[in-house]
């Protein structure tokens, strides 16, 4: 539509949020403003998606020199990798304003700032710019959790903040290392991500900084065993913040791995991929099994979210096209399923004043539309064919089998682990008999229904006809594996079951 669409998408919400914070606006005005801005972002996002040409390279590029002496620039762009993360960040937020109508002004303002910062981190094509947005996006979450969270919010807030910042600092060190290495090898300064792929990194130092990046992203994703901030944070944060954290911010961690680690540290990744993949699978199983022991709906979903993120991360570490594409697809599928489930739990909480599984029951009979929507999101999260969850999950398992048979087999158990706790929860909350808590449960209002309808439809459309979506991703993922990658061949060679696959067509 116009040249600076990405900048507008980043700074419109941030500036609006800051202005809201400084003016004595009422919470009603704040909410309406937030809604309008997020709708504007939604329209821009759709426009961007429609005009995205799937060339495989960065599109909608904006580049301005910022600190020329160090090669730092204000550089934005979208390609097949971040398009879908960007869509998740720009399309889902209006729901929050429509569902949570009675929060404070600062709540909505912080939400706006979070959205802008996330879009900035997603679109940044310069490492320093990425880092700045990466840090900014933690701030609104800090305030939302600390100010508007649940009763035990303070320790949870401190934990997530310090944990994430510790990771970020490691990443900062690694970014500086990359810049310096680039200067050493090419005798000029650059912090552009695309330049880093040219680097030839080897030796102990490279491994050290590889892990700096990995840990930073692993904390954000969160990858086992760096997930321990998650259950408390997701449970204590206000539901909108939980939604933002799980639906979008966690995905930026995965996106970071795809963007920074896969192309830049290809050699190190090949060496440690099996370790990281195991971490993903173990995390999936660990969190999935822990979920069954939860009594608090939100905490159960928190574990469920962590469990699915393990699978998504696994897809990235498998280093083949199917798994990587599956991961990117699953990013949206997960945002629209588990993310939306968090919002639904928020609705249940506001209607019954309880999140405890034991206090609920029989909602399906009282609120059939709500139950239908909830069930569709739930089925997408357990990866039922016909919903978006299946496509991504299947591609990841397919790729994982190629990467390593046993990793693939254990990754497949997500099919079973997921249904165990989800069905149990659905049984106790939606089926069985009603009780005083739920006997007056109101179905979705018209506004709420219309809010969720597009997402529910998206879940189904993305499950039945995924090709138009996949075709936006595959050109870029194909490029990722088009280069000379000794890496993949070496990994497959360790795979005993499919020895004949060692011949890579590079």
């Amino acid at each position: 539509m116009f040249e600076h669409i990405l900048s507008v998408m980043i700074f419109l919400p941030i500036l609006t949020g800051v202005i809201l914070l400084m003016t004595p606006a009422s919470q009603g005005i704040a909410r309406i403003t937030g809604l309008l801005v997020s709708l504007a972002i939604l329209i821009l996002g759709i426009d961007l998606y429609v005009h995205f040409a799937a060339t495989g390279y960065l599109e909608f590029v904006e580049k301005l020199a910022w600190v020329p002496s160090l090669g730092i620039s204000y550089h934005l762009g979208v390609d097949g990798i971040n398009l879908f993360v960007l869509m998740a960040a720009s399309l889902l937020l209006p729901m929050v304003y429509l569902v949570f109508t009675t929060r404070e002004k600062g709540f909505y303002a912080n939400l706006l700032i979070a959205q802008g910062a996330m879009i900035g981190a997603i679109c940044a094509a310069d490492m320093v710019l990425f880092y700045i947005f990466w840090e900014i996006m933690l701030l609104p979450i800090f305030f939302m959790m600390g100010l508007y969270g649940g009763p035990k919010r303070i320790p949870a807030t401190i934990k997530i903040t310090i944990y994430t910042i510790a990771g970020s600092l490691l990443m900062l060190a690694a970014i500086v290392y990359l810049g310096v290495s680039y200067h050493a090898q090419f005798n000029e300064w650059s912090f552009a991500i695309s330049d880093m792929a040219k680097l030839n990194l080897s030796g102990q130092t490279a491994i050290l900084f590889f892990f700096c990046f990995i840990i930073a992203f692993a904390i954000k994703i969160p990858l086992f065993p760096f997930h321990t901030w998650l259950p408390d944070a997701y449970t204590e944060a206000p539901t909108a913040a939980t939604f933002v954290l799980s639906a979008i911010m966690a995905k930026i961690g995965v996106y970071g791995v795809i963007r920074f680690v896969v192309p830049v540290f290809d050699e190190q990744l090949a060496r440690f991929a099996i370790l990281l993949a195991c971490s993903g699978v173990v995390g999936m199983m660990y969190c999935g099994i822990a979920a069954i022991a939860q009594k608090d709906l939100k905490r159960m979903l928190a574990f469920s979210s962590a469990s699915h993120m393990g699978i998504i991360a696994l897809g990235v570490f498998c280093m083949n096209m199917q798994a990587l594409t599956g991961s990117i697809y699953q990013i949206v599928a997960h945002a629209t399923s588990v993310g939306v489930l968090f919002l639904f739990v928020g609705l249940i909480e506001s209607r019954t004043n309880s999140r405890s599984i034991e206090d609920l029951g029989g909602i399906a009979a009282k609120a059939p539309v709500f139950a239908l929507f909830f069930a569709i999101a739930l089925l997408a999260s357990v990866g039922l064919p016909g919903t978006s969850g299946f496509i991504g999950e299947f591609l990841i398992i397919l790729g994982a089998i190629k990467f390593n048979v046993w990793v693939g087999v254990f990754a497949g158990t997500t099919l079973i682990i997921g249904v165990c706790y989800m069905l149990y929860m659905f049984q106790r909350v939606f089926f069985e008999k009603t009780n005083p808590n739920t006997s007056t449960f109101k179905d979705l209002t018209l506004v709420e229904g219309l809010t969720f309808l597009p997402v529910i439809l998206l879940i189904i459309i993305m499950g039945i006809y995924p090709h138009p979506f996949l075709s936006k991703i595959t050109p870029t993922t194909a490029l990722q594996f088009a280069g000379d990658t000794p890496v993949v061949a070496q990994t497959v060679a360790t795979n005993a079951l499919f020895p004949e696959l060692t011949i890579e067509k590079k």
Partner: protein, 637 residues
């Protein structure tokens, strides 16, 4: 080779559309003014009938083609295309799919009609038909899918509907738990299916991922991988088709409404595993070991379930175990590479088992939801149509010539014998006798003798014609379905097997006429023995026996459910609780907590220096400055 047509996709689409329309109508009206039941009933039957008509058209179109090129395909759209993995949402109708198509839509339609009567008065009438339509659509996707992945869509879809319909009366916790069990156990099988697909794809390497391309490229598979793929797919089949060790969900699935048990848990969905093995006959034919495993698992399941069926007192549970047992026969058939025999048994079984379930449904309907056979008795006089049709079904199930079950079961046993699987044949004969026994035990107790519960007996009546007409139609099918595949010894020419030939990779075993006659006689003898025993024990009114010893063990189903609970379910829950209560705080989070504790400790240690007196800070300053000066002067010199 194959002919592209543009109407295959419509066959599953009709019921799916029906499901969406009915579902939306129900969801938006159920808590306001409810729509009349007629609306739902008519809407629900439109989809299945249209599908049945199209299925007939497919059949006609296939017949018109020369046998070796009887393949109709319909590529609707590109589904998933990532790198070398390309799958389209495509449908394939070949003789095998066509056979399934015909009986699934036919029986599906009948059961929809039957349900109009059976479900009347239920508050969730609309929901029921939405689920039923959704099920039929998914089942048709399963049957028509042109490759394993599209089949998997239907495969999981029917699993979902099965779950929804088992937990249909969702107020009762036990029903929902049964539904959960079905879904989870099926998912265990589905894991095998998914892994099988992945192995198959990477093992074959290149080429399309639809049956026709796969069967051409099947030789590229290394033997080890072929075995793994076959066994993994079979795990999927054991889940869906209730074989050892995953059969446990099917008896519990009887918690759903009876038409559901008839359609899903007897006639169609549970046979999907057999269908899959037959679909992949091009793989299984080359891997003898996998075939043996399947055959033995199948026949042992048949034996085990037949033992359980002899001791049950819930009429639906008897039929459920009987289904498991008959499914075992089918797997024994496809396991010994007699794919057409297995499929033929699926075909006949669909008729007589649906009939028996619907008959049981009318009894339950007439007795106001009484399912215990020891509270029935003497119903012959009150419900003549149900009685006659159920006896026909029972004769077919028990394998009495010339009813359909006899021919199809005999064909399996003959193939097992002729291919040298004498052990399987022997067990099969024993199971045949047991089948006759438990079937007629049920018939005698329910219909003969005296009424055991007089009050219920007095209220019993024949159900409305919307329910009895499907019974009669199915009874006709149960009598005559067997004649489609008469073997040579009865003067037939195995019509169904010949029809299926283009779809299957099989060699029909031929032996001497003497062997054929011997096998037939053995089957008939087994039936006679079973019937005689049942008559002598239960023929003239019997009371519920006291169980002890082995029979008590069998009555409690060998405590398999309890064992699963102890070995899998409880430990799984305990593991979840342990992770949450112990491992997470004390192991995984320990480094984080440790880091913060270390930080606190260091702070406490350094606190000593923070004396609070200005003088002390002055000393630090003096000492520090002195040291700096000293250091500077040293380094300058």
């Amino acid at each position: 080779m194959e002919l592209s047509v543009n109407y295959l996709g419509l066959i599953p689409l009709f019921p799916l559309m029906g499901a969406v329309i009915i579902g939306l109508l129900h969801v938006f009206t159920c808590n306001r003014t409810r729509l009349p039941e007629k609306v739902y009933g008519i809407l629900a039957c439109i989809g299945p009938i249209l599908s049945f008509i199209l299925a007939l058209r497919v059949w006609v179109a296939l017949k018109a083609l020369p046998p070796e090129s009887r393949f109709l395909t319909h590529d609707v759209f590109t589904w998933i295309s990532v790198g070398e993995f390309n799958v389209s949402m495509g449908f394939l109708a070949d003789p095998l799919a066509c056979l399934f198509l015909l009986f699934v839509t036919f029986i599906g339609t009948l059961i929809h009609i039957y349900s109009i009567g059976y479900m009347s008065g239920d508050v969730n009438y609309g929901k029921f038909f939405a689920y039923m339509n959704l099920f039929l659509g998914s089942m048709l996707v399963l049957v028509l899918g042109d490759g394993p992945l599209v089949m998997f869509v239907g495969w999981e879809g029917v699993g979902l509907c099965s779950y929804l319909l088992i937990s249909f009366y969702s107020e009762d916790r036990a029903n929902v738990v049964a539904g959960n069990k079905a879904f989870i156990v099926n998912r265990i099988g589905d894991l095998g299916f998914v892994l099988g697909m992945a192995f198959l794809f990477w093992g074959i390497g290149s080429g399309g991922f639809d049956y026709l391309s796969l069967s051409v490229n099947a030789d590229n598979l290394a033997p080890g991988i072929a075995l793994a793929v076959c066994l993994l797919f079979f795990i999927g089949a054991t889940g869906k088709s209730a074989q050892i060790p995953l059969y446990v969900w099917l008896p519990d699935a009887m918690a759903g409404p009876t038409p559901v048990s008839a359609l899903i848990h007897a006639a169609t969905m549970v046979t999907a595993g057999v269908y899959m093995v037959a679909r992949f006959s091009f793989l299984y034919a080359g891997v003898e070991l996998a075939g043996s495993v399947i055959a033995w698992v199948g026949i042992l399941t048949a034996l085990l379930a037949a033992i359980f069926a002899m001791y049950q007192d819930d009429i639906k549970k008897i039929l459920a175990y009987s289904t498991v047992s008959q499914l075992g026969y089918m797997f024994a058939g496809v396991g010994v590479a007699a794919y057409s025999a297995g499929i033929f048994h699926v075909f006949t079984h669909a008729f007589f088992k649906a009939l028996l379930f619907l008959g049981a449904g009318s009894i339950i309907y007439a007795l106001h939801h009484e399912q215990n056979i020891w509270k029935m008795g003497g119903l012959k006089a009150k419900m003549p149509i149900t009685y006659v049709t159920m006896v026909i079904g029972a004769l077919a199930l028990a394998g009495c010539p010339p009813f359909s079950g006899f021919f199809s079961k005999d064909e399996i046993l003959y193939c097992a014998f002729a291919t040298g699987h004498y052990g399987i044949w022997l067990v099969g004969i024993v199971v045949a006798a047991m089948t006759a026994f438990y079937t007629f035990r049920m018939i005698f107790i329910v219909f003969h003798g005296q009424a055991r519960d007089q009050e219920k007996f007095d209220h019993a009546h024949e159900p409305p014609s919307v329910m009895t007409i499907p019974l009669i139609i199915l009874a006709v099918g149960a009598i005559f379905a067997g004649f489609f595949n008469l073997p040579g010894v009865f003067g037939g020419n195995l019509m169904v097997s010949q029809w299926l030939e283009p779809s299957l990779t099989e060699v029909h075993p031929y032996t001497s006429t003497f062997v054929e006659i011997f096998v037939v006689v053995a089957s008939i003898a087994a039936f006679a023995v079973g019937l005689k025993l049942a008559w002598s024990k239960y023929g003239q009114g019997a009371t519920k026996p006291e169980f002890s010893g082995f029979s008590r063990f069998a009555y409690n189903k060998f405590y398999v459910d309890e064992a699963f609970d102890r070995v899998l379910v409880q430990p799984y829950r305990a593991l979840g609780a342990t992770i949450w209560k112990n491992i997470e705080p004390n192991v995984t989070d320990a480094p984080v907590k440790g880091a913060s504790r270390l930080y606190m400790m260091l702070g406490n240690a350094f606190k000593v220096f923070q004396a609070g007196y200005v003088r002390v800070y002055a000393i630090y300053m003096v000492v520090g400055l002195s040291l700096m000066t000293l250091f500077l002067s040293q380094s300058l010199n």
